[in-house]
């Protein structure tokens, strides 16, 4: 059941870059490769393979945006991010519980927890998108290097902040 849910999420994830019209062959190829790699990852309950597939989907999505150049669509991006989080969580749990006894309501409790976290992520993304719209208008006159430097700084700070939070709690450890 969990494997089926993961496969469905993977199919949705791989199809999302193709929703950016018009689709080009490189995007289709990248999405196909992501589907295959992710499929193997789901069947083997391998988080690294599914992570690779997720990264490929993000690259395919970026390529689709660059090639097609459509108008900004935050909903598609939020759906992609939320699906990716759900897929990684399901595959991680599937690998952990393989061969183990599952008590009653474990899956239901986990599903509730995942949906709550993803829901919070979606709300945050919608909020940030809404907040960014007036900021975009304010920055319309800014020169490109300033925007790029600001965005890069923001990205680096985000990653550094998350790493700092993790490092404060201890080093990452392997799952059983």
């Amino acid at each position: 059941m969990m494997r089926l849910a993961a496969l469905v999420l993977l199919a949705v994830l791989a199809a999302l870059p193709l929703a950016v019209r018009p689709s080009t062959p490189p995007v289709i190829w990248l999405a196909t490769v992501a589907l295959v790699v992710g499929g193997v990852g789901v069947l083997a309950w391998s988080v690294p393979l599914v992570t690779a597939a997720g990264s490929l989907v993000v690259i395919a999505y970026a390529l689709a945006l660059v090639v097609a150049g459509p108008a900004a669509d935050a909903l598609l991006a939020i759906a992609l991010g939320a699906t990716l989080v759900l897929l990684l969580a399901i595959v991680h749990l599937g690998g952990r519980v393989r061969g183990a006894f599952l008590g009653p309501s474990v899956i239901a409790a986990q599903a509730r927890q995942w949906l709550a976290v993803v829901g919070a992520g979606v709300v945050a993304a919608v909020g940030l998108t809404a907040a960014a719209a007036p900021l975009g208008g304010a920055l319309r006159g800014a020169s490109l290097p300033v925007v790029v430097i600001g965005a890069a700084l923001g990205a680096v700070l985000t990653v550094a902040g998350v790493i700092t939070l993790m490092a404060r709690e201890g080093s990452p450890r392997s799952d059983p």
Binding site: L65, I78, A100, G121, V159, V162, D175
Partner: protein
Amino acid sequence: MTWRPTALNVSFLTVVGWALFLAVLTGRAELAVVAVPAVVALVVGRRTAPPPAWHLHRELSDRRLLEDECVSVTVTLRAEGPLPLVELLEPLPPRVDLARGRHHAFFTLPAGGEIRWTFELRGAGRQHLRLEGPHLRVWGPLGLAAAETQHRAPATVAVYPRHVPIRYLPYPLRTQTFVGNYVSPTQGEGIEPGDIRPFAPGDQVRHVNWRATLKLGTLHVTQHHRERNADVVILLDTLSEVGPDGETVVDAAVRGAAALAAAYLARKDRVGLIEYGGQPRWVRPGAGRAHLERLLESLLSASVVFTYVNRDLDLVPPRILPPQALVVALSPLLDRRFVRAAADLAARGFDLLVIAVSPVPPARAAARRSAVLDVAARLWTLERRAELDQYRRRGLTIVEWDGAEPLDAVLAAFSRRSHRRVLAG
């Protein structure tokens, strides 16, 4: 218990890194939006408050088993606060199989909730099965953080060698003074009728043989044979070992020794044990159910111990090896030292029976099957047969046993009853 981030954080960071890198590279804000749910998950996933308190109790259904019997392990976990996902793992020691259930489980507990988790373990070989205690791991949201510990509650289960009942036991040549199941040639109180003799003052009226009295004209009484027990000493050879772990020739000999001990003790005999190996150990002859457990406990740790020191059976005190005891030796007869010791015992007048446990089947089980192996096994069997014949000519009484077939069948075929009548009381 402290929270630690799991490897899943690296996966989330990878995706976030790609999304933000590509957002900056392409100048598309949607890619930054892709990273937001993952960043929120990473932030939500980090835990600072310690996990709620919990109480774990583990219970074993039995502390003594025979090989291939099962012990039921019941774990009870109670949480004072909510535990969305808790993982329990009881590591399995070597030579222990899972008979029923799983030794690894996941549960969800509400505040004040309690779960009971049961599984069964089967001891695949004689051992002191030691369970250290279950590992407990509490998972944070999405599996991004985990806190783990081990509930230290060491428990030991003694898995004794399995023993099948034996009906046809070798009879001892000599009996002892206590009441038992062997018919002694000495006259006295007993059930088995013996000689008829004239009545003497002090004889009981119930012993009067009326038929003989009427025939002979004077009072005659029937005498009875006494029923006596015997001393049996099991001599176990732990000088050499052949075969895969758990199915070695020593394991077969230990099972045979356990079966013999149980059968002789059931006949009210006193049974002792001598483990003749690198470190000789012994158990003084005794009787009763408690003594059987003592013997099984000693057999549990019987193993080959290498040493350069060559010890002899002369070291064994007479109270451990009584002169009139029946000595049943179980040995693969691979080590010359044991053969010398057995020949020495026979020469000293001990009533000795050697059960030669064949090392060929365990050796075959340890190697990969091939035509060459079959030929080698056949040649070894022939050589062994010739060797055993040679020992027989030297005065040793030897019974061959392959370790797999029931020992009872081997002993039934070995008919010593006709010439092993009890000689002295």
